[in-house]
């Protein structure tokens, strides 16, 4: 498995605010204060979870995670690091 070369190179992690809308991403890491990280975990943004940005331009974002829609403020979305799923 490790020897395979046809796998695309790992895409760099980016904050959720910059994620392309409509494309599934995977949570890689939560940055920010401890209380906030726990809250994000409780809300479903656990590393490995799949999130998709569904809307929001300029203001807060609408994302789906764990099969439900959440409104995420930009400040929060900056603390959630994601990577596009291929």
């Amino acid at each position: 498995m490790f020897g395979r070369t046809d796998l695309p190179p790992l895409q760099p992690a980016l904050p959720l605010v910059s994620a392309a809308p409509g494309r599934p991403h995977q949570v890689v890491e939560l940055t920010g204060g401890r209380g906030m990280c726990r809250h994000l975990t409780d809300m479903g943004f656990v590393p490995g979870a799949v999130v998709t940005v569904m809307g929001g331009h300029g203001g807060a974002l609408i994302v789906t995670v764990l099969d439900s829609r959440l409104m995420v403020s930009r400040g929060m979305a900056r603390r959630i690091m994601v990577r596009p799923l291929t």
Binding site: M43, I62, D67, S73
Partner: protein
């Protein structure tokens, strides 16, 4: 079980994620009519009720929604503390079956807590509509607790739930499953649990030491605080916990609380893979489609404004005809009472004080009903939560975020629940700011004042727009005051936040009617109690003391009531306030109404009803509106100024009391009274003097 134990009612706590249907279950069990709505954070306080089942007495407690037993905001803390501190006999975790994985996250924490728990698998109908089949039996095995499929809105599964409650309580059945956190975490959990066992904390707190150990590793502030208060060895123990946390972080590369959360989700995902089958996905994602439109960057705000405008238009135009009928009814009643009762104090009390005062308020029932219907519609469809999104960008300019808008919208109905709803705002400064500006959102008690004045001085086509304008002014002032507060008293960063957006639902007719009626009934009850008492007091203050005969000797029939009122207590008080009232175009009659309106805004209307009823020298029956029209003191500009004043000044005593309770000090309620009175005067002054200058 001994007899005495059986005599005690079974204490059942209804817990679960926000918007999972806890209150609907509560209402179904107890027959209560607590408020439900399709947005998270409807219930922010615990509500208690009773149910009898099969010879058992149940004491049911409805809790605010929470995502976790480690709370993030105030209303979550209420839920957490009830379960942990008050130890109900059984916890019913109400989960939304159509949103299963997220909802089961809290369930895993109840299992960790090792207490008698039942999972009510609510909204099975929604899950089925989404093409999900849930094997409840298998899920029961995997989670080791009874799982009861149900539909709270129809009562499906209610009996089974009640049976399970009785059985679990009788046998004190605890979860039969322990969720494993994996080889890296388990040794640490075990070692902390062991230390807790050694201390003998189990007996002291009656809480599962394993749960305590997990919460300590998650660095749960409440548990740490509790521990420090209870045991002397706390510091030593916490040091060990800190070491364990560091170690976990080293080997896993992530914070323990994230790792622990991750294991819970892993357990849930595993269980759901086995017990949930997607039969067929619905073809269209209706919620997504609606959201694309109503949350659109360009049309989102216009749609919101349009809906608000439609709401007030409807309240005014549809409410007008039935309002006229009720008004005619009271006029008739007044005439009958005046004809039957001999002239004198009693006649005056009944005709002027009670029929004039209370009747003046009851006239507006149709409009109030329509307003509440519109609000219920916004709440039940799921649009409520979207407004938070739509205005988020705007709110950021004033240093608040979209979430603050929900309490403000609730304020269109009543300011008291609006103030309480600020509990869902986790940041203290944001919360206080929202609480202090929420009263500027015009509540239903102020609507009668606008309806009366706009109806009397503007053509029907314009009156609705004038009222809408007053509401808008309230919103603008709220924004302005929030901006000032955030720049001065409550400066600081806006805190980031996450909020769940529920799927849209078609409200049921029954649900809408219940909501509308519940609130309208409150209005009617208020008219029959507080406003009745206030009307009698106001009547007394307006008619006593009577001027001595030598003073009123030469009065013509037109002058007599005017002199009598000016001589009365109310007249004297208002006279002293005259210098303040004059610049706004107000006379002593308006002054009296405004003073009485301190208690509740409807009383402004009631007082005017009494004042003008007393004033009717010729005993000719005319409605309050006609009476206002024929008063030379009034003109459209005075009417608008008065509406503006009533919009802004002191909400009402109930609001003062709830702000006092929610902030736990007198400072903020007094501040609220001070700033609203000052602001009301200033804005009214600008409106009136500006209007006169412009030639109105």
């Amino acid at each position: 079980m001994s007899i005495s134990e059986q005599d005690q009612p079974i204490v059942v706590a209804l817990a679960g994620n926000p918007n999972s249907g806890k209150t609907t279950v509560f209402n179904s069990l107890t027959g209560a009519r607590q408020h439900v709505g399709n947005y998270p954070g409807v219930t922010v306080e615990r509500k208690e009720g009773h149910a009898d089942f099969d010879g058992h007495e149940l004491h049911v407690v409805d809790l605010p929604g929470t995502y976790s037993l480690t709370p993030y905001s105030l209303e979550e803390l209420v839920a957490r503390n009830f379960v942990i501190d008050e130890r109900p006999d059984v916890v019913v975790d109400v989960v939304d079956a159509s949103n299963l994985e997220r909802n089961l996250y809290l369930a895993t924490q109840f299992i960790e807590l090792d207490i008698p728990v039942i999972i009510a698998l609510n909204m099975i109908d929604m899950a089925e509509a989404q093409g999900l089949r849930i094997d409840a039996e298998l899920l029961t095995q995997l989670f080791g607790v009874p799982i009861i499929p149900m539909v709270a809105t129809t009562g499906f599964g209610k009996r089974e739930l009640l049976e399970a409650m009785v059985e679990v309580t009788a046998e004190r059945t605890k979860p039969r499953v322990t969720i494993s956190f994996g080889s890296e975490l388990e040794p640490h959990i075990a070692s902390v649990t062991e230390k807790l066992d050694d201390i003998g904390l189990d007996d002291q707190m009656g809480i599962s030491p394993r749960w305590l150990a997990i919460k300590l590793l998650e660095d749960d502030a409440e548990v740490v605080k509790d521990l420090r208060e209870r045991i002397p060895e706390a510091e030593e123990l916490l040091e060990g916990v800190a070491r364990a946390r560091r170690h976990i972080k080293e080997i896993l590369g992530e914070d323990p609380e994230i790792a622990i959360g991750d294991r819970r989700y892993g357990f849930i995902a595993g269980a759901c893979r086995r017990a949930v089958v997607t039969v067929k996905r619905p073809k269209v994602d209706i919620t997504g489609l609606i959201d694309d439109i109503v949350t659109n960057r360009i049309v989102g705000i216009p749609i919101f404004l349009l809906l608000m405008w439609l709401m007030f238009e409807m309240v005014f135009t549809l409410g007008e005809p039935p309002m006229g009928w009720i008004e005619a009814g009271f006029e008739w009643l007044g005439a009958v009472a005046a004809a039957w009762l001999p002239p004198g104090e009693l006649q005056s009390l009944i005709v002027d004080g009670i029929i004039g005062g209370v009747g003046g308020v009851l006239v507006f029932i149709p409009n109030i009903l329509l307003l509440f219907l519109a609000i219920a519609f916004i709440e039940d469809t799921g649009y409520m939560a979207r407004t938070a999104f739509v205005v988020d960008r705007l709110m950021h300019y004033i240093g608040l975020h979209g979430k603050s808008f929900i309490p403000m919208l609730i304020g269109f109905g009543c300011t008291v629940p609006a103030v309480m709803a600020t509990r869902t705002i986790d940041d203290e400064k944001n919360r206080l700011t929202t609480m202090l500006v929420a009263p500027l959102m015009s509540c239903s008690a102020r609507l009668p004042v606008y309806l009366l004045l706009a109806g009397a001085f503007f053509a029907p086509e314009i009156a609705g727009k004038v009222i809408f304008g007053i509401y808008l002014l309230g919103v603008l002032l709220a924004i302005l005051v929030a901006l000032v507060l955030r720049k001065s008293l409550f400066s600081g960063e806006t805190t980031p936040f996450v909020m769940e957006l529920p799927p849209y639902r078609l409200p049921t007719l029954h649900g809408l009617l219940v909501h509308t009626w519940e609130r309208t009934w409150l209005y009617i009850k208020k008219a029959g109690t507080i406003i009745l008492v206030a009307s009698i007091i106001v009547w007394f203050a307006l008619t006593h003391p009577a001027p001595p005969p030598e003073l009123s000797a030469g009065d013509s029939p037109e002058q007599a009531p005017v002199h009598a009122a000016a001589y009365s207590y109310a007249g004297r008080i208002s006279k002293t306030l005259e210098p303040l009232l004059r610049p706004l175009g107000f006379d002593w009659k308006i002054g009296t109404s405004l003073i009485a309106g301190f208690a509740a805004k409807e009383i402004v209307v009631a007082t005017m009803g009494t004042v003008y009823s007393l004033d009717e020298a010729d005993e000719q029956d005319q409605g309050l509106r006609e009476a206002l029209q024929s008063d030379p003191q009034f003109d459209p500009l005075v009417a608008v100024t008065l509406m503006v004043f009533v919009l802004i000044y002191v909400p009402c005593l109930a609001v003062i009391a709830v702000v006092r309770k929610e902030t736990n000090s007198w400072k903020w309620p007094l501040f609220l009274i001070g700033y609203t009175c000052a602001l009301a005067w200033i804005v009214s002054f600008i409106v009136y003097q500006g209007g006169r200058l412009l030639g109105f």
